[in-house]
Amino acid sequence: MAMLFSDPFDTLLQFQQTLERLRSSDWLAMGPSGVGSYPPFNVFLKGDDIIIIAEVPGVAKADLRIEVKDKTVRIAGTKTVTHDEKGGVHRRERRGGEFDRAVTLPIEVDVNQIKAECHDGILALFLPRAERDKPRTINIT
């Protein structure tokens, strides 16, 4: 999306405004899990491929489980929040617990080519669009 990075000074704000606009999109509305499930997702398109990004601060790689079947992606895991009980508590805003979320994508993905990365509390799933799902150009003879 060329528009996003036309002006480096405004880049982030423009990006944020685009993200905010899409909050009302019903792109995943047909899936088994709706808005408001943990972890919240952002879905991006890069070329033909879908990238799902989720913020999962405090979740270790080992505590994440990702499964894919056909068009449905499931992300489950446990977020552990440890509290140092010895001292006094001033604030406790972080929440821990278990999560399990499944989303059904509107396109077919190549299940064997899916990659997942988790760095600095950000989970990124790279879902390449299946070859058979890509539109084909028909030559007129």
Binding site: M1, L4, F9, D10, T11, L12, L13, F15, Q16, T18, L19, E20, L22, R23, S25, W27, V35, G36, S37, Y38, P39, P40, F41, N42, V43, F44, L45, K46, I50, I51, E55, V56, P57, G58, V59, A60, T78, T80, V81, H83, D84, K86, G87, G88, V89, H90, R91, R92, E93, R94, R95, G96, G97, E98, F99, D100, C118, D120, G121, I122
Partner: protein, 132 residues
């Protein structure tokens, strides 16, 4: 204990600060836990997507300020299709009720969690005066 409960989405809070930011972008308030022990204050913040080098922690006049910046270049070439949360820099500050030893602030970052240990300044030890 909370560990067995299903995790709920906590909507990100946008920062409403006294001093407006000069950067034209939205800042968010990181979820924070604060604990106090006899000799230190422990501050644990959620700053997902922030690199180690993009975090500033400072204590000035008993105000702890943390700024953590994300790198929007990581999203280059990606067209958003559907979104449930917004991204932005994180910023938060706290007024401290204890003197903090500036030289002994320790910070670690792991899985998007910033942990700060702020050592309190050693108070003058109570001293018993011997009468001769």
């Amino acid at each position: 204990m909370a560990e067995s409960q299903a995790l709920q989405v906590q909507e990100k809070k946008e920062l409403v600060s006294k001093g407006e930011k000069t950067v034209p972008a939205r800042h968010y308030v990181p979820s924070t836990d604060i604990f106090e022990t006899d000799d230190a204050l422990r501050v644990v913040m959620e700053v997902p997507g922030v690199d180690r080098k993009d975090i500033d922690v400072k204590v000035e006049e008993d105000i702890l300020t943390v700024e953590a910046r994300i790198d929007p270049a990581k999203y280059e070439g990606m067209e958003p299709l559907y979104t449930e949360y917004n991204v932005g820099h994180f910023a938060r500050s706290f007024a401290l009720s204890h003197k903090i030893d500036q030289q002994q602030i320790a910070a670690t970052l792991a899985d998007g969690i910033l942990s700060l240990t702020l050592k309190k300044v050693q108070q003058a030890q109570p001293r018993r005066i011997e009468i001769k």
